[in-house]
């Protein structure tokens, strides 16, 4: 699957395209199929997102899993500071990244 990501223009937060908006949570990301570039252009022009780009991901039982480690780290926050990420109480988050 292909999913669309970028950073929130105002906060810089990592965000994911949900089909009708943006979420900070990767599990809300949807397959953009062949529409990713068009959605990215439209959303960037509307200042809903900064520097959006399409990435490869795999759908798993826990939701989408980005193909590249860089985007997996983007999804959860710095692996060395899990307390600052979106799932500070999840002890398996480091394993998920790798």
């Amino acid at each position: 699957m292909k999913i669309l990501t970028g950073n929130d223009l105002v906060t810089g937060d990592v965000i994911w395209w949900t089909g009708d908006g943006w979420s900070r949570h990767l599990e809300h990301a949807v397959d953009v199929d062949g529409q990713g570039e068009a959605i990215a252009a439209r959303e960037e022009a509307a200042r809903h997102v900064n520097t959006p780009y399409v990435i490869q991901a795999e759908m798993t039982g826990e939701g989408p899993r980005p193909a590249h480690i860089k985007d997996r780290i983007r999804a959860v926050g710095p692996t060395v500071r899990p307390d600052l990420g979106l799932k500070p109480a999840d002890p398996t988050i480091g394993d998920w990244v790798i």
């Binding site: 950073n7 105002v10 906060t11 810089g12 193909a67 780290i73 060395v80």
Partner: protein
Amino acid sequence: MYQYDEYDQAIVDARVEEFRDQVRRRLSGEMTEDQFKPLRLMNGLYLQLHAYMLRVAIPYGTLSGKQMHMLAHIARKYDKDYGHFTTRQNLQYNWIKLADAPDILAELATVEMHAIQTSGNCIRNISSDQYAGAAADEIEDPRPWAELLRQWSTFHPEFSYLPRKFKIAVIGSEEDRAAVRLHDIGLQIHRNDAGETGFRVFVGGGMGRTPMIAPVIRDFLPKADFLSYMEACLRVYNRYGRRDNLYKARIKILVHEIGADEYRRQVEEEFLHTRTLGLDAPQAEFDRIAAHFAPPAFESGLSDEIDRSDPDFALWLDQQVVAHKVPGYAIVNISLKPTGGIPGDASSAQIDLMADLGETYSFDELRVTHAQNIVLPHVRKSDLYAIWQKLDAAGLATPNLDLVGDIIACPGLDYCSLANARSIPLAQKISERFGEIGRQRDLGELKLKISGCINACGHHHAGHIGILGVDRKGEENYQLSFGGSGAEDASLAKIIGPGFSEDGVVDAIEKAVNVYTALRTDGERFIDTYRRVGEAPFKEAIYG
């Protein structure tokens, strides 16, 4: 310390308001990201993996307690309660909101700080010796010259759009604590045969994709010609530096391609012209700047005796405290490398504590080192125990200066959008593997440096042991190299063989260290043994 005059303050204040308007226009849609990006970068604002990152300039690594407190305040108010001290003697905040950036810069401006020259293809923040003005081996304090360079280079109309970024370091000692030969320009104050002080000028060093050690372009530059010669060095680069290829745009490539002799010839030719332009600071202006760096009011007659009865204090004393040029005083190194910690990170509370210590015990001065530690430059020996107790209570008294646990590491893939692999977790694992301080001290000086990509912000080329993180088919992989040095015996580390996983590289370091301990002679550091015996026994032990 230098204090802004009305012009400095007016320039910085105006820049804040200019950036405030630029941010407003970006948020309102009047500017696209392509239009805005170069403007935010000129104000130190990057977009990294998780958020905007703001890099604050700390000119030549020197700051006051008030400035240090401001860094803590910003971390607490606008970020996530911590900051990261960098290998360029600066500080980075990792979680900045775009809308807050102008207010942050405005708050910085109230304590004579900014984020100018921390990005872009300009002359970057000038770096220097963290022991400047305090070192026992110093010929002359390099900071007035660094400050002169700062004033000359800030918004220099001719050098704001260079082919690539440009880094200058200045030192005033024979011992090189600022890696001058690995800078675009390195300046070393020294004496000529006539006993005059001037500058040895190195040009064309650097790390990154194509590491090079800078050759000497001028062995003795009289002080009177300082800026006009710098102008000539930059002009030749600006004219002939490669703008067609990002990876060949640094001055080191130009100097390498045309040769040091030809570069020197061109600089000297240009210098004949620039020295007629009245560019050099009048003596009165230099004296005004230098007066800000006059030695503090050291007391005389202080005792050099220190009570070493507390063994933990004595250990810290031996490792973290170095000689000061004034009897009764010492230089304190504060380690930001707790065992298993994140190199260079400090919480707001820790930053505040260090600020307090600087104000109370070090004539209101602190320094940031390129090795990501903090220095209290002027401390009475009689105050050392009190300082140690406060540092120890705050987790800032790890006695590992220049030991294997004193690892330089870039933010790596945990934060940086350029990185290919994580640096910090590897630093943490190595730090824990060699956590026992007694063993670290037995191994002696061992400078281990980790970069998460080829840009080499972790200075891996200059590590006695250097590690470069790479992306190998989507997996993090680490190349191990030996033999680098950023000191006066500068050398570039050489890759030892195929790369490793994260755990594999830690094991490989253990094997290399065991080779060293087996082969070393009395007094030899790791790098000395490596240079003497060569790579073969290390390679054999690691790859068998």
